[in-house]
Point group: C2
Chain length 377, copies 2
């Protein structure tokens, strides 16, 4: 097992942690953010451009890749890294979150049965089959198959789903055979402190190389997320990387880091980019607005990314107005770079024991403009 | 005027010519092919990747850029080269072809009046306004405003349109003020030898730095195109670059070169790419076919392009099946590279007086597979 996490330090006045994940592919500092390549591609961008932004780990999805092109094809191509031309780290999500978002699905102790139109017959995903799929895909980090519940959910059902998630995590650990992959279990328990605590403690007993917090970013809002983290994080192992799944906007990520989380992923930077929404130090910029028609500045005047070094707001505005795919590409490169730079600055701030000051300064600048564009949340 | 053309040699057994265009930006060998960036962007690909394929000149469209974002905005951004981050040569088409494709338009001696939905009021394009637009866009080569007729067209109307095209070319030459731009007139005359001859001779009198043949690639087919070139090319100036507009498939380009044309442009390599059709040495490959699901080979096994060096047919198949934009990008890079490589090999063959042999060999390999995919023409 070549996966290791070292906690380098904790911020003096918050829960923010500085760490490093070491694998055979090298070291990656934490806190880190992972852009999402659901179907084995960061939408609209070549992997080299993603690596240029500093990204060294991205998230792909076992559920989507199981349906298309199928894990056997990926395996026959030498695994996901070679298939998608990404030599750095990959994490695959187990499919739990996706399956539980489907309208028609039956949850049993064995697993989940659901329909997929193109197949014509029911698909069953279970802890064992999810691990088998993820082993064939060959990511560096794989996720346990969990039951994610909606927000809000009554305590009784949240408890049942949480306990099943623990049993399934044990089955995942038992089924997992590839020593070169790190398996992370996922803490569930909805918005209930007792359930989150019980789940975290039960999963910690498995002594797996990392641990994730799931069931957030499902519409509960930043305040609730913050509260859930406040009573969940204390029960997570201190010496393991802590991964907050599906989060989020820059302000959410700052809250997650402050609470002591080390990793997160989200479709926001890439998805927003494709709708013409760019993240900048002074807030979000909706490039399709008419006032950018003649704007000679780069999207973010202080950004060293490929897009900002070579193109103006007027050009990006034109690309979006003219439905040119290149607009999606350039906006995505910028947003992914913006998130990487945010994480770099977060790490620097933690190293210097000034995370809270950094957070305040960043949000002061960032939220100035944000009010104008809040309708896109 | 920094534009010069030198004819280096003519193939011993065909009309194929080897030449070089010299501008302040350096030398570009002919015959050359230009990919199309209609709206100021090669669809789905960053300009650097296009330059990597060897492209040093591309075609943009004055009509489209006039409508969006408008030539004044492009000019205020430092011109089209800076706007679209393309430091090499650009040629703009005058808009003649586009305007004559519109359903509602009125042609008068002054110019053409047409409706553009988003503007609400009629737009008028004339020789003078087309030149003014193209001067503001700032391309290296600009085109005279012509009247392109449909195929087939009666002799009487083709004659009237051809004569107007000549009068308009004179007005374009008179209106043109930027000495750093080369203006090319366009030979019209439909499929009538007398009209093509009269037009070519009248335009040659203007002594402009190059000359184009228009009104082809409008559905007449390869045999008719070949015939038109056979009676048109002999009347074109020998010492000027000859540009065949809107052509075409590899076999069409070979025919154009054989007839003595030096330049061409077409949307085919980029447009076909976005529908999953890849050009290879053994014919066109429709990557969406099920037989490529597990195919571990690069799209073209003998191709040094970025796509073929990093991705398999199975991955491209997956990207198209999964509607991933990256599929468009990778396919476009390959097709643009394929065309550049074809032109390189054509130039090499002319240099060695074996153009006809090369053409035969190329088509033997290329047309083997082509039969299967002819339905996509």
């Amino acid at each position: 097992m070549s996966f290791a996490f070292k906690l380098l330090k904790t911020d003096a006045r918050s829960g923010a942690r500085l760490g490093v994940i070491t694998t055979a592919k090298g070291e990656i500092p934490t806190p880190l953010f992972m852009p999402v390549a659901t179907q084995g591609a960061i939408k609209a961008v070549e992997p080299e451009r993603i690596a240029e932004t500093g990204v060294r780990i991205l998230l792909a999805n076992a559920y989507h890749l199981h349906l298309k092109p199928g894990e056997d094809i990926v395996a026959s191509q030498g695994g996901l890294h070679r298939f998608m031309n990404w030599p750095h780290l990959i994490i695959t999500d187990s499919g739990g979150y996706q399956v539980f978002s489907l309208p028609k699905r039956e949850i049993e102790e064995e697993g989940v049965r659901f329909q997929f139109e193109q197949f014509g017959k029911p698909v069953v995903l279970s802890p064992e089959s999810s691990i088998a799929i993820q082993e064939k895909l060959g990511a560096d980090i794989i996720m346990a198959f969990d039951e994610c519940v909606a927000f809000p959910t009554p305590h009784a059902y949240a408890k049942q789903a949480m306990e099943r998630t623990v049993r399934w995590a044990r089955r995942c650990a038992a089924a997992h055979t590839r020593p070169d992959q790190a398996l992370f279990p996922i803490v569930q328990g909805s918005t209930y402190a007792d359930l989150r605590k019980d789940c975290a403690e039960a999963l910690a007993e498995l002594d797996l190389p990392g641990i994730a917090v799931g069931g957030l970013s499902v519409g509960e809002g930043l305040d609730v997320m913050r509260e859930v983290l406040s009573y969940t994080v204390p029960h997570l192992p201190r010496d393991k990387p802590r991964y907050l799944m599906g989060v989020g906007l820059p302000e959410d990520i700052l809250a997650a880091v402050e609470a002591g989380m080390d990793m997160s992923d989200c479709i926001i930077p890439t998805k927003y980019a494709r709708s013409g929404m760019l993240f900048t130090a002074v807030g979000r910029l909706r490039i399709t607005r008419p006032n950018y028609r003649r704007d000679k500045y780069p999207p973010d005047t202080d950004c060293p990314c490929y897009t900002c070094q070579h193109y103006t707001r007027a050009y990006l505005h034109h690309l979006f107005q003219a439905d040119e795919i290149l607009g999606d590409t350039l906006a995505t490169i910028h947003n992914v770079h913006f998130y990487q730079r945010l994480m770099e600055r977060i790490r620097q701030a933690i190293a210097e024991d000034r995370f809270l000051e950094f957070k305040r300064e960043f949000l002061q600048g960032y939220q100035r403009e944000d009010k104008k564009t809040k309708n896109v949340r």
